[in-house]
C-alpha cells in the first residue's frame, strides 16, 4: 500500500503539467456542480422565504359556523405541550373579522386582523414593516400603505369601522405598514387582539392560531402531528404545503433539473479522469512492466492508479469547492437586483459543499478503476519484448 502510494505520488509529481491539467478539469466540473447546486438552493430558499417566510405555515382554523375558537388559551397550552412543539418556532392567536372602513370617498371592505403583537412579530416581522407611525395600542389601528394612499389617511386620524352586523367603532390610526404585497396592504388592517374582539363583539375569542415552524418543508407532518394530539372540538389544522401545491411542484421540478445537471457534470468529469488515466497507464507501461519484473504484484500495480485517482480527486475536490464557492460569492456580489440586493441570496450549505467534494473524490477513484485494471493485466514480458 505504502509503496503503491509513493509511486503514485511520484508519477503525478513527475508530470506536473499533466497533473495540474487533470486537477483543473475536475475542479471546473466540481465548481460548476457546486455553483449550480448552491444557486438553486439559494433560489429556492429565497422563493420559499418570500412566499411563506412571513406568513403562517401551520394554521389552526375554526370549523364552527361563527368561525371562532372560544377556549383558545387551552388550545395554545395543548400545542405547547404537544410532541411537535420543538419544531414550532412561533405561535400567534389571531382574530379575523371582515369590516368596512367608512370614509368620505369610499367604503372599502377590509379584514381586521387582531393579534398579540409580541407573538405575531415572530411571524410577520410587523415592527419592521411599520414604515410610519407606531405600534397600535388599545383602540388604535394600523393601515396598509396602498389603502392609506388611496383614502388619503394620516396618522392619529380617527376612522369609523363598520361591521357586517352594522356596529360602528371609532379607531385611531397609529401608523402605516407595508408587507410588500399590495393586495395585503389594501385588504388588511391590523390591531391588537382586544381591539378586534371589541370591534366584532367576540370577547375572549379568536378565529385561528397561526404558527411558524423551523423546517418549512416539515409543515405537513407537523400539522398531522397536531391534528393527532390536539383534543379540541371544532378546529382544523391547515398547512402551507397543502395550500401551495403549484409552488411545491415548481420547486420540485427545479430540484430535479438541478440534480440532473449536477449528475451529468460529474459523469463528464469522471469520464475525463478515466480517459486521461488510461493514457497515463500506456505512458507508464514500461515502468509498470519493470516494476512487475522486480516483484510488484498485480494488485499493487493497480493500486498505483487507484491512488493516482484518489490523489487527483482530493486535489480536484478541494480546488473545485473553493472555485465553486468563489463563483457563488462572485455571483451574489455582482448579480444585483434593482434594489441593490443580490438577485439570489448566498446560502452556504456546508453539508452540500462537503458532499460535492466527496462525490468528486469518489468519482475520481471510480474513474481510476478501468486504468487500474489495465495496469493489473499488463505483463512484464509485453514491455520487455517490445523494448
Amino acid at each position: 500500500m505504502r509503496f503503491a502510494f509513493s509511486v503514485a505520488a511520484r508519477f503525478l509529481l513527475s508530470s506536473k503539467a499533466q497533473t495540474m491539467l487533470i486537477i483543473l478539469g475536475i475542479s471546473i466540473g466540481v465548481s460548476v456542480q457546486l455553483f449550480i447546486g448552491l444557486l438553486i438552493q439559494g433560489l429556492q430558499e429565497d422563493l420559499v422565504n418570500s412566499t411563506i417566510g412571513s406568513s403562517s405555515q401551520v394554521t389552526i382554523v375554526s370549523t364552527r359556523d361563527d368561525r371562532s375558537i372560544v377556549d383558545w388559551e387551552d388550545l395554545v397550552k395543548q400545542i405547547e405541550e404537544s410532541s411537535v412543539k420543538p419544531q414550532i418556532s412561533a405561535i400567534s392567536p389571531v382574530l379575523e373579522s371582515p369590516v368596512f372602513i367608512t370614509s368620505a370617498s369610499a367604503v372599502p371592505s377590509v379584514l381586521l386582523r387582531g393579534f398579540d403583537f409580541g407573538a405575531a412579530d415572530a411571524i410577520y416581522g410587523i415592527k419592521d414593516r411599520i414604515y410610519q407611525g407606531r405600534q397600535p395600542e388599545e383602540g388604535e389601528i394600523l393601515i396598509g400603505k396602498e389603502l392609506a394612499e388611496d383614502l388619503g389617511f394620516s396618522i392619529d386620524q380617527s376612522i369609523t369601522i363598520l361591521t357586517a352586523e352594522g356596529r360602528t367603532t371609532e379607531l385611531i390610526i397609529s401608523g402605516f405598514f407595508d408587507l410588500r404585497v399590495a393586495s395585503l396592504n389594501r385588504s388588511w388592517v391590523l390591531g391588537t387582539l382586544s381591539t378586534a374582539q371589541v370591534v366584532s363583539e367576540r370577547e375572549g375569542q379568536v378565529s385561528g392560531i397561526e404558527m411558524q415552524v423551523s423546517d418549512v418543508f416539515e409543515a405537513d407532518s407537523i400539522a398531522a402531528g397536531l391534528t393527532e394530539t390536539l383534543r379540541f372540538e371544532g378546529i382544523r389544522v391547515d398547512n402551507w404545503k397543502d395550500q401551495n401545491e403549484q409552488l411545491l411542484s415548481g420547486l420540485q421540478g427545479q430540484s430535479i433539473s438541478s440534480l440532473m445537471i449536477q449528475v451529468f457534470v460529474i459523469i463528464a468529469v469522471a469520464l475525463g479522469i478515466s480517459s486521461i488515466l488510461v493514457i497515463t497507464v500506456v505512458q507508464k507501461s514500461r515502468q509498470i512492466g519493470i516494476l512487475k519484473a522486480m516483484g510488484v504484484t498485480d494488485r499493487t500495480a493497480s493500486l498505483v492508479f487507484l491512488f493516482e485517482g484518489a490523489l487527483i480527486g482530493i486535489g480536484g475536490a478541494v480546488v473545485g469547492v473553493l472555485l465553486g464557492l468563489g463563483l457563488s460569492v462572485a455571483f451574489t456580489t455582482f448579480a444585483l437586483g434593482p434594489d441593490g440586493e443580490p438577485v439570489v441570496g448566498l446560502y452556504l450549505n456546508y453539508g452540500f459543499m462537503a458532499l460535492s467534494g466527496l462525490i468528486a473524490f469518489g468519482a475520481s477513484v471510480i474513474a481510476a478503476v478501468v486504468p487500474a485494471r489495465r495496469s493489473a493485466r499488463l505483463t512484464p514480458v509485453e514491455v520487455i519484448r517490445n523494448g
Partner: protein, 228 residues
C-alpha cells in the same frame, strides 16, 4: 552442486491463430554460484528462454524450478514475491524508472516488499553503487545520467536484494566496447565476491568466451553446451 534454476522439457509457443514454436524440449539447469552465458542469433529464442527462467513468461509445457521450487502451479502474486527475493534482472534497455533518482531506483526492489528503508539497506545500496562506480550521480534522476551510468544503476538495483541468481539480457548491448568491458568485468567481480549465479544472454561471442559455461541456442534448441 545444487541447481538454482532448472528447465525440464520446456516448450514455448507464441500466437493463438497461427502458432509458432519458439522453444523445443529444453532441458537446462544452472548451478549455484556459476557464471554462464547463453548465445544465439536474434530470434533464436534466447530471450524467451531467459524470460521463462525468470518466471516473467510461462512455458506452454514443461516445468520451471527456481531455487528448487516448482513455479508452474504458482499464482502471479507468489511469482512476484519469488522474483523479488530470488531473482535480479538486468535488461538491455536498463529500464530505470525515470521518475526516480539513481539511489531510489537501486532501493526499489527492497521497497517493493513494502519494507521501510533502514540505514543498513541504504548503506548496502551506497556500497553497491560504489562498486559499480555511480556514487557520484546517485541523486540524479535516471534521465540525467549517461547510458553507461544507467546500466550500472540497473546492475546495482538487480543486486540489492541479494538475489540467488541474476538474469541479464544483453546487459552490454547498447554500450560502447570500453564501457561494455567494464560492466562485464563488474558482473564477474560480483559473481566471485558474493557467489551470485549469473546467466547472461548475449550475441557477442567475445563476451561469452569469458564465462564459465556457454549455452548456444539455435532455432529454439540447445545446439551446444560448453563448460570450461
Amino acid at each position: 552442486m545444487d541447481n538454482i534454476v532448472e528447465l525440464r522439457d520446456v516448450n514455448k509457443f507464441y500466437g493463438t491463430a497461427v502458432q509458432a514454436q519458439v522453444l523445443f524440449d529444453i532441458d537446462l539447469s544452472f548451478e549455484k554460484g556459476s557464471f554462464n552465458s547463453i548465445i544465439g542469433q536474434s530470434g533464436s529464442g534466447k530471450s524467451t528462454l531467459l524470460n521463462i527462467l525468470g518466471t516473467l513468461d510461462r512455458p506452454t509445457s514443461g516445468r520451471v524450478l527456481v531455487d528448487g521450487k516448482e513455479t508452474s502451479s504458482m499464482k502471479n502474486t507468489e511469482l512476484a514475491a519469488l522474483r523479488n527475493k530470488t531473482i535480479g534482472f538486468i535488461f538491455q534497455f536498463h529500464y530505470l524508472l525515470p521518475e526516480f533518482t539513481a539511489l531510489e531506483n537501486v532501493l526499489m526492489p527492497f521497497r517493493i516488499g513494502n519494507r521501510s528503508v533502514s540505514k543498513e539497506v541504504t548503506e548496502r545500496a551506497n556500497e553497491l553503487m560504489e562498486i559499480v562506480g555511480i556514487d557520484q550521480v546517485k541523486n540524479n534522476l535516471a534521465t540525467r545520467m549517461s547510458g553507461g551510468q544507467q546500466q550500472r544503476t540497473a546492475i546495482a538495483r538487480a543486486l540489492l536484494n541479494n538475489p540467488r541468481v541474476v538474469l541479464a539480457d544483453e546487459p552490454t548491448g547498447n554500450l560502447d566496447s570500453d564501457t561494455s568491458e567494464k560492466v562485464f568485468g563488474m558482473l564477474r567481480e560480483i559473481n566471485e565476491r558474493f557467489g551470485t549465479t549469473f546467466v547472461i544472454v548475449t550475441h557477442d561471442r567475445r563476451i561469452a568466451e569469458e564465462t564459465d559455461r556457454i549455452v548456444e541456442i539455435v532455432d529454439g534448441r540447445i545446439r551446444m553446451d560448453l563448460k570450461k
